[in-house]
């Protein structure tokens, strides 16, 4: 399986969009492209299974290594393991549904879909690249489209939010850049696998780990650098919010895992308590902040802060299970928030308000959308049978395996957040879809075919993970084991 397809196809799609004559063709091309991409992703999954079943235990599969800038040891090196495949699948499905949701975009639809595809391109590249330079390259590619998407098609104080988001993320990538430099100067290599083989001296790690981790952490809404999340998500158009929460926040988590933790395990150990502290704060703090929000998008955005806290927590706990949980949480949260934002977008496009107080009783007039809303909510409060439960429980179990008393306390606090989550989700659901309906909404219509399709894709993802977690667990475990080996080495080195 040639992984470059994953980058080429969006590229072709984007170009096709640029040359296509009218808005209808544009969205058609975008949809076809993204669906084919999804197909490729599934194919990739199958090939991966096949390889693994055939007994190929290489850490990375389908590797392709092309020397790019020989003088600077920069290679175009790509390859995937289970984690990346999970991420790619997530991206693909979110992209498809995002495009479906924004089917009826009139304003500058060509540019809109072009940017969406460009963003997805960045994400794909990021997830498959095994070379720090390429990784960084794609990471930054994914930033600017967000700025334009929010700024042009957004709502509310969009310019401010767009600028804040872009600048904070750029600050993040600047920090990441310094981290990369440090690793390069000490190892004279950008290749992740090579670097993981040679051991970076611990004091160097201690200096550069914070840069890398914080940098990626900003992408993953690490407290206290999360403030771009609420405004950004709230101002963004529906599809963009879906992409932001569903994909680009995952870039951060993946980076924290693949770059920071994997390449600098000693430092990861040394700093784990800080990471856990921040993560725990983010979880509790985000949950309570959510409880006070009145705007549906803000509710979901803040809950994203809280949920991404679980990702960071899982990474910080540094046990096999907790890291599994972190990855699961990334995937699950991606699907879940995407669904949530989709539902909110659908509601907003009909009622023209996102204020919880002004909504009510929508279940009567738009049962489908309301059901989506409730499903998303139940998933985010961790209902068994939906992906959220699996992810959170894995994180909890994994964190609990870390015998340190303080870490236990952090775990318990994190667990406690599920109650708060229940509170705000049920409040939102109770006010929005339940309760008496105001007359102005009685004429509203239910979801259209494209919205239904979009939602179905996401819900399927959520339910599959929720009902048969062992599948995705088997998928990602080899990857996380590989990371844990590094961490294990680090322990033994101590």
């Amino acid at each position: 399986m040639n992984l470059s397809l994953l980058i080429l196809l969006p590229l072709i799609t984007a170009l096709g969009i640029l040359v296509s004559p009218g808005p209808r063709q544009v969205r058609l091309i975008a949809l076809i492209g993204s669906i084919v991409q999804l197909g490729i992703a599934c194919l990739l999954l199958l090939d991966y299974w096949h390889e693994r079943v055939a007994g190929n235990h290489a850490p990375m599969l389908f590797e392709f290594n092309y020397t790019w800038f020989a003088a600077l040891h920069i290679n175009y090196h790509i390859g995937v393991d289970g984690i990346s495949i999970a991420m790619i699948l997530l991206t693909a499905s979110v992209v498809v549904s995002g495009i479906l949701v924004s089917w009826s975009t009139e304003k500058l639809s060509k540019e809109f879909f072009f940017l969406l595809i460009l963003l997805s391109l960045g994400a794909y590249g990021f997830f498959i690249s095994l070379d720090l330079f390429t990784l960084f390259f794609f990471l930054e590619i994914a930033v600017i489209p967000k700025f334009l998407l929010i700024g042009i098609w957004g709502s509310g104080k969009k310019e401010y939010s767009a600028m804040k988001l872009a600048l904070l993320l750029m600050a993040g990538s600047a920090l990441v850049f310094v981290g990369l430099m440090g690793m390069y100067v000490t190892t004279h290599s950008f290749d992740i696998l090579q670097i993981s083989q040679m051991h970076i001296p611990i004091e160097v790690q201690k200096f550069f780990f914070p840069f890398a981790f914080l940098g990626f952490g900003i992408f993953a809404a690490l407290f206290p650098f999360h403030t771009w999340v609420p405004d950004g998500h709230a101002s963004a158009p529906t599809a963009a919010s879906m992409f932001l929460a569903g994909i680009s926040m995952k870039l951060g988590g993946y980076g924290c895992l693949r770059v920071a933790t994997f390449l600098m395990p000693d430092a990861a150990h040394a700093y784990s308590w800080i990471i856990i502290l921040l993560a725990t704060i983010a979880i509790i703090y985000g949950a309570f902040a959510t409880m006070m929000q009145t705007d549906l998008k803000y509710i979901n955005a803040y809950s994203s802060v809280s949920h991404c806290g679980f990702v960071i927590l899982g990474i910080g706990m540094l046990t096999q299970t907790s890291i599994n949980g972190a990855v699961l949480q990334m995937v699950s949260h991606g699907l879940m928030t995407a669904l949530f934002f989709a539902a909110i977008g659908m509601i907003y496009s009909r009622t023209h308000t996102r204020m919880v107080a002004q909504l009510g009783g929508l279940l009567k007039v738009m049962p489908f959308i309301s059901t989506l809303f409730v499903i998303a909510g139940l998933c985010s409060l961790g209902l068994p049978g939906l992906s959220g439960f699996v992810a959170e429980m894995t994180v909890f179990m994994g964190s609990w395996q870390n015998p340190d008393a303080m870490y236990r306390l952090a775990t318990i606090l994190a667990c406690a957040s599920i109650v708060v989550t229940a509170v705000y989700i049920l409040r939102a659901a109770g006010k929005t879809v339940m309760g008496p309906i105001s007359d102005s909404y009685t004429h509203l219509t239910d979801a259209t075919w494209n919205e239904k399709l979009a939602a179905t894709i996401l819900v399927m993802g959520i339910v599959i993970i929720g009902v048969a977690p062992f599948l995705i667990n088997q998928l990602i475990t080899p990857g996380t084991e590989n990371i844990m080996q590094q961490v294990g080495k680090a322990i033994t080195l101590k």
Binding site: F69, A71, I74
Partner: protein, 470 residues
């Protein structure tokens, strides 16, 4: 065989000279329409550019006064390319102008001076080249004879450059006094750490810093850029800077190698100052030329960091970045000059909802700005990345961190322009522009350059293969 050497090694200079004389003759002859003249000139410049790529060899003339090698030829070619693009862009400005030929004569003689400066093997030659590249530009800066600002800009340029050359000369004289030679190759062995020499060296550096407008020697830049005609501004911000930087690198790396430790720190100091001050001033500009002036100052800061890497990669990344910088900056100037030539608008606020009327130009401008800001996949990303990479090779990470974080500020002001173009509402935006063929060609070249130079790695590899080690 000395004569063939003469013709081969000096061919680029000779070509320029030939063109200058040709233009003089044209000027003396019966006057033709501006269009035909411009066509001719652009053709000549294209030929000149093309000719540069043939039979490039190493060698020295006039007892090491003049030396050249593949890298120097390449650098000259970059300058040729730049001036060709500039001339293409200034088409719509010049075709109504009375003194087309004089304008070109001034620019070309300045270019000639730069060529000599680049290949100078001797401080005397260097001084001559420097002055020769400055004085015509002062005249060119005043080329909008009727505009108040233009003459003010020219005045500021000539006075401050005269002042700086005075200090530079003092430096040179002290060098001469302490070493007894002006030949760079001999100097390298003689420069030491005694205070007088250090002082002389600092004076020299300040001369360079003035030309490349590094803080605190940059103050003339913005005013001159704003006042001068856009073509001249473009020339100043791209060509003359590039030329001086080329010399700067080679002189630092070879002649003042013995002072490496000193200028390594000095450069970092200057670089950080330059980046920070440049950014801070760029933040609050509304005039597009002035904005680009300060942004280019910030860019120079990054280049200085690259230079401080003092390695083969250092040289290569500097030359590479300048090539990219030529494309990016000229793309921006191209759009600006088009707009101002037609509408006379030069404010960023005039560009609000520019996209609604001129999508093509808007995209070009956006891509250019992104390349300046260093956003992938534009070449600017690669350029900046490699510069900082070279800079961090010696393991001084805090300056790198500061520089990297400053990129965030620079993002702010570049994105501010993008925001104006795409997002801000405007009741009377710039009207729909018809872009003449030549400027359009120039824009296409620039955009192509911005895309290709980065992604196509052999460009960098070629430069790297040419550039000398430390």
């Amino acid at each position: 065989m000395i004569l063939t050497d003469f013709f081969i090694l000096l061919r680029q200079e000779l070509l320029i000279t030939a063109i200058i004389f040709g233009l003089l003759i044209v000027k003396l002859g019966k006057d033709r329409s501006n269009e035909s003249i411009l066509m001719l000139i652009n053709l000549l410049l294209l030929l000149n550019l093309a000719a540069g790529f043939f039979c490039s060899t190493e060698g020295a003339l006039f007892s090491d006064m003049f030396r050249t090698n593949k890298l120097i030829v390449l650098e000259k070619n970059i300058l040729n390319l730049a001036i060709w693009i500039i001339s293409l862009q200034s088409y719509s400005w010049l075709k109504t102008h009375k003194h087309v030929i004089e304008f070109y004569i001034l620019l070309l003689s300045a270019l000639l001076g730069m060529f000599f400066m680049i290949s100078s093997g001797n401080l005397l030659m260097f001084y001559l080249g420097l002055e020769m590249s400055t004085i015509p530009l002062a005249a060119a800066a005043n080329f909008d004879l009727s505009k108040r600002q233009s003459s003010e800009a020219a005045m500021k340029l000539i006075i401050s450059s005269a002042f700086s050359s005075g200090l530079l000369l003092l430096g040179i004289s002290l060098v001469y006094g302490t070493t007894g030679t002006l030949t760079l190759s001999e100097l390298s062995s003689q420069m030491g750490h005694n205070p007088l020499q250090v002082f002389a060296f600092i004076l020299l550096i300040s001369g360079f810093a003035f030309k490349i407008s590094a803080v605190p020697f940059h103050l003339w830049t913005a005013d001159v850029y704003e006042g001068a005609p856009i073509a001249v501004t473009a020339f100043l911000s791209v060509v003359s800077k590039a030329a001086v930087l080329f010399v700067f690198v080679s002189i630092l790396y070879t002649t003042f190698k013995s002072l490496a430790e000193l200028w390594y720190n000095l450069l970092f100091l200057l670089a950080l100052l330059t980046i920070i001050i440049g950014n801070l001033f760029a933040l609050r500009q509304d005039n597009f030329k002035r904005f680009l002036a300060f942004s280019s100052i910030a860019q120079v800061g990054f280049i200085l960091i690259g230079i401080s890497g003092s390695s083969q990669a250092g040289t290569a990344s500097v030359v590479y970045f300048i090539l990219i910088y030529v494309f990016s900056n000229l793309a921006a100037f191209g759009v600006v000059s088009l707009v101002s030539a037609v509408t006379g608008k030069e404010k960023i606020s005039d560009y609000k909802s520019f996209y609604t009327t001129n999508p093509m130009l808007a995209w070009v401008l956006t891509i250019a700005l992104f390349s300046l800001a260093g956003v992938p996949p534009t070449a600017g990303f690669f350029g900046k990345f490699f510069l900082l990479m070279a800079g961090s090779a010696n393991g001084s990470y805090w300056p790198i961190t500061i520089a990297a974080l400053n990129m965030v500020i620079s993002f702010y002001y570049y994105l501010r322009v993008v925001k104006a173009i795409f997002m801000d509402a405007n009741d009377k935006p710039v009207q729909k522009l018809v872009v003449p063929a030549l400027p359009k060609l120039a824009l296409y070249i620039c955009v192509a350059g911005i895309i290709v130079t980065g992604l196509w790695s052999s460009v960098y590899d070629y430069i790297y293969s040419l550039s000398p080690g430390f």
